[in-house]
Assembly symmetry: C2
């Protein structure tokens, strides 16, 4: 308590107890310590051999499949996707398609086919997954200078664009009411059915990945998944579950989500220590198995670019995995421009407990106002890895 009697968050940044036996009466506090004591079962171990790493990767993939709980119905047992309409755009054809993943559902998606592509000259196919609040149309918007799918089409790649569930055309009353996106209710409904939001988004992405392999103008040996922000999560799930995907564009800061949850314990002025994200990010048990850096490490030796920084510790971990897999050059990462100079970055083996969101971003070398699709890094990198 501050001297004037008001509540001072800094006095309560970490959990404390004044009991001689060290026990906590606060449920939030003791759960924190229980969670902290449970290291993820499949945490990447830099000391493992290359052979052990392959077994670990197989376990990673199986565990991700178990957590994602995709329905048994694969693309071949669903109604065939339908091309609804197409129109010529500047340098590419924009196709509007529909996928029918459930009896009750239609899931629209877009396909951008560059003019130079034809079945005699199949192209790289890139699955594009937007960020929170972005409809898929934002990724082709001429007014968006960093329009992921439009820029890929200009490069000559076939871009397939999905909505995150509950966004864009798959939203509920957003357009009528003018309200913001609500993924919490969709997330809740999925969790009630023993599923989860990432399970659904990765199922749709997985079906589209399979669909791309059947399209004659796409080279099935050159599939790429490109996720922005929220879309980087299905990228990770699809990555582990689809060994045939050739390369990955991870466009967000690399977040150690378990550590973030265990360190962002500083309360706000009202004494609230909220969880760092909403329940569309909740997959029960996920953090008992692995965290994001482990998942990216398990993608080795497949080409991977990370474009918006994070903790160097985590990049060293992933680099180590790529080296062990014999492909050190297949992993590339970039920090935000603000932290491009190594002397400006924070280097930590472990983030400290008792921080808030701003402090977390600072320690993770994140520059939130400059969160956008980093075509300046991604397009040259793709040209390079696809020229091989």
């Amino acid at each position: 308590m501050a001297q004037d009697g008001s509540f001072n968050p800094d006095d309560h940044a970490v959990f404390t107890t004044d009991r001689a036996d060290g026990r906590y009466a606060s449920t939030r506090a003791y759960l924190h310590h229980i969670m902290k004591a449970r290291e993820p079962r499949l945490k990447y171990n830099p000391a493992m051999s290359a052979d052990s790493m392959k077994l670990w990767q197989s376990d990673m993939a199986q565990t991700m499949s178990r957590l994602m709980k995709h329905p048994d119905r694969d693309l071949s047992s669903l109604p065939a996707p339908v091309l609804v309409s197409e129109e010529q755009r500047d340098g590419y054809t924009l196709q509007h398609w529909e996928l029918y993943p459930f009896d009750q559902a239609v899931v629209p998606f877009l396909v951008l086919v560059p003019d130079a592509v034809n079945t005699n000259n199949p192209a790289t196919g890139i699955l594009c997954i937007p960020g929170y609040g972005q409809p898929k149309e934002f990724l082709i918007d001429d007014n968006n200078p960093h329009a992921m799918a439009r820029l890929y089409a200009r490069e000559g790649y076939v871009a397939v664009v999905m909505d995150n569930p509950g966004q864009g055309e798959t939203g509920d009353l957003e357009r009528e009411a003018g309200k913001g996106v609500d993924l919490v209710t969709v997330g809740r409904q999925l969790l009630e059915m023993d599923w989860n939001y990432l399970g659904l988004s990765s199922y749709i992405g997985s079906l589209l990945t399979d669909w791309m392999k059947t399209q004659p103008y796409i080279n099935p040996e050159r599939l790429v998944v490109s996720g922005f922000s929220l879309g980087a999560e299905p990228l990770m799930a699809i990555g582990l579950m689809h060994p045939e995907v050739y390369a990955f564009v991870y466009n967000d800061y690399l977040c150690a989500t378990r550590e973030r949850a265990l360190t962002m314990t500083k309360p706000d002025n009202r004494g609230n220590r909220p969880w760092p994200n909403n329940i569309e990010h909740l997959i029960p048990g996920f953090l008992l198995e692995f965290d994001f850096p482990d998942i990216l490490a398990a993608l080795a030796p497949r080409p991977l670019i990370c474009t918006e920084g994070g903790m160097d510790r985590d990049f060293y971990l992933i680099s180590g995995a790529y080296e062990k897999a014999g492909a050190p050059e297949a992993f590339e990462y970039h920090h935000y421009a603000k932290y491009a100079d190594p002397s400006t970055r924070t280097y930590l083996e472990a983030a400290p407990e008792g921080i808030n969101r701003d402090e977390h971003f600072r320690l993770a070398n994140v520059d939130p106002p400059h969160h956008y699709f980093k075509d300046e890094f991604i397009l040259p990198w793709l040209r390079h890895i696809l020229s091989k």
Copy 2:
């Protein structure tokens, strides 16, 4: 859309689609229909035989155990609870105890031992579980005219009082900051660890139930669980998992929670159709197995009182189960005073979709301002069933 262009919730009360194939693009809408199509596996079937009902009850108990995920450590493998202090109150001794369910945790609880009780005269023991926002001390408060535990002690019963996790002494910064209870973060943290809030609260309640059986001044043949509001949820879990509990006081309206979630689809003025409750009520997969009325039906033939109404349909269902179990007199229920006259109640086989919270309460015969511990029904009922 209303004619003036503003958003009118009544126009969107239920999910609609203008597609000829009946499919929904809205994720929220198609998930609604998927969930609706999945009837709970263990839904009570009034047509089953008395023998089938016993097998069904066994399946209900096993399924509840699976969902509650209690740790393996039972009372005998934990440090013994400790009596910290005691003081004489008006007609009873108030004992402050501590339970140690995890290495990192202390969970305080209260025991009220009436003056007339001793080991030669062991008494009925009642586990008392408060509602949302109520510390356990509210249940003994002399200024609370409906103080559950104090009133039980006055009747000569030993009352054992726990906090719901994250409330009262087990809260985090509420006292320092003066903020309200936050069970959402505690619930989230549990879900991240593949557990759930009800799993934790019922684990603590379960340990205390086992502890009560070891106390020489409690008659282990006369254990009662009494839950108010939020506390009625652990009552249900403990009820199925502890066949040795003799009777149950369910002090809330009887809510068909699955139907509530599937019918409260009317948006607010911002177009939001929120889930009816917070994630401290979320148990992934629970509603695929059963709903509250099924659980109460599975308590037959053990004495049960419901004190704050609900839909007559659900009370008929439970009455039918008690009749089948050969104990029709063991189930008693009361409506709110406002709906005591049968002609004032709504009778529905199924609630309609497209309602909001107020409409739900009206159709379920609920009078929210009069939500309190109904000692006027409960105390006479307990005297009656315990005199047998």
